[in-house]
């Protein structure tokens, strides 16, 4: 008899989606096979935890499971090759694993010293130092990506590609554009810290972007199609009739690039705006509009 996904994740049946996510994070950090290279059991446990999360982390699937429409195995996923399988087999050809930090395992005169430090196998060479810079860019340049140039005190200007979805405080790296190496070593990197200038109306909220969009009184009362700006150009949005100030619409996928792929969403909050100049027809209508006079929007404030 296999354990229920709730037991695997060590949460109760009425746990919130947030509880389930944080329980999964806690277990995943402990059990991920790549964080436990020598532990065979970790893979089995991680698989069980991932399968449980695949089921419970998805509200729709969780509902189906709770109603007994699917069992705890859910959908089959193809077996996965973990990085540790390659690293242990030596398939990474010395590109990643590092042995620089074990040189203290042997004295310099020790016959084993070269075994841990790899001295004698490869000529000691040094990588050049990294050079640090900072740069200010516009919100839209950060959101959509851009090509910029950095002027250096000495040497030619550097071309810098700002990737879409760059965040304030993020550091970009130009490989080999730092100080030169010695003894045939590689050059250091240029590290550019990016600060993003705030935008007049777009506000960043994680991967999402939030902003207010004004609509006319007619659009608010009657609804209809309006043009709404987004990070990568205006789109048509249909607003329902009787849309009030404060109503928020979600434009799926119109937010910022996510680090792990995909996009966040845009949240557009409507603001009803009266015409600039008083309109005699509107004034006449409202003067004769009895329901409007009886409407007290401040009732909940005790007004």
């Amino acid at each position: 008899m296999s354990r229920s996904p709730y037991e695997v994740l060590e949460v109760s049946k009425n746990a919130t989606q947030k509880d389930i996510q944080s329980a999964y994070r806690k277990l995943a950090k402990k059990l991920h096979p790549d964080l436990n290279p020598g532990d065979k059991q970790a893979e089995e446990k991680f698989k069980a935890v991932s399968a449980a999360y695949a089921l419970l982390g998805d509200e729709e699937k969780r509902g189906k499971y709770d109603r007994g429409e699917i069992d705890e195995t859910g959908a089959e996923t193809p077996p996965r090759q973990y990085y540790r399988d390659y690293a242990s087999a030596g398939d990474t050809a010395g590109r990643y694993e590092s042995a620089h930090s074990f040189s203290d395992f042997g004295d310099t005169d020790d016959i084993f010293s070269s075994f841990f430090s790899q001295r004698g196998r490869r000529q000691q060479s040094g990588r050049g130092r990294d050079a640090h810079f900072s740069m200010e860019i516009d919100f839209l340049e950060a959101a959509n990506g851009a090509k910029k140039q950095i002027n250096l005190p000495d040497g030619p200007p550097l071309d810098l590609t700002i990737p879409p979805g760059t965040r304030d405080g993020q550091t970009l790296r130009l490989r080999g554009k730092g100080e030169p190496g010695f003894n045939g070593g590689t050059a250091g990197d240029a590290l550019i810290e990016i600060s993003v200038r705030p935008h007049p109306f777009y506000r960043q909220d994680g991967d999402d972007v939030r902003y207010d969009v004004p609509i006319s009184l007619s659009e608010a009362v009657l609804g209809g199609k309006i043009r709404v700006p987004t990070l990568d150009g205006a789109v048509n949005v249909t607003i329902p009739a009787n849309s009030n100030t404060g109503k928020t619409l979600r434009l799926k996928g119109k937010g910022l690039h996510r680090k792990a792929g995909g996009h966040g969403d845009a949240y557009v909050t409507l603001q009803v705006v009266l015409p600039q100049a008083p309109d005699p027809d509107l004034t006449a209508f409202v003067e004769g509009w009895e329901t409007g006079k009886a409407h007290n929007p401040r009732r909940h404030m005790g007004g």
Partner: protein, 105 residues
């Protein structure tokens, strides 16, 4: 595989792959000026995705984790060779080494 193929398998955009390479989380082989990725790079990229996504590790955290993991694999490799060398010795030598390690505790 080429970078486009790698991005398709991971369902990420090429700019994300570029930043991972800029961070040296991935170091592809260069052949005729083009980046070449092995299955090991794909597995490594999946680990990076796990760290960033479900585990909620931030960029600096991934830097630290990858550096420590690379050290662990370097250490495991060296330790494996050392064990092989010890195993190829006479039983008497193996016993003496084991006795010395036990004494240290």
């Amino acid at each position: 595989m080429k970078d486009t193929e790698l991005c398709r398998s991971l369902e990420i955009e090429i700019t994300i792959l570029d930043t991972w390479i800029e961070h040296r989380w991935l170091v592809p082989e260069e052949r005729d000026g083009a980046r070449q990725f092995h299955d090991s790079d794909l597995a490594r990229a999946r680990l990076i995705q796990d760290l960033i996504g479900p585990m909620g590790v931030n960029e600096d955290g991934v830097d630290v984790a990858m550096q420590l993991l690379d050290q662990i694999h370097g250490l495991r490799g060296r330790l494996g060779l050392l064990m092989q060398a010890i195993r190829s010795q006479d039983e008497e030598v193996q016993r003496r080494i084991l006795a010395l390690i036990d004494e240290e505790h």
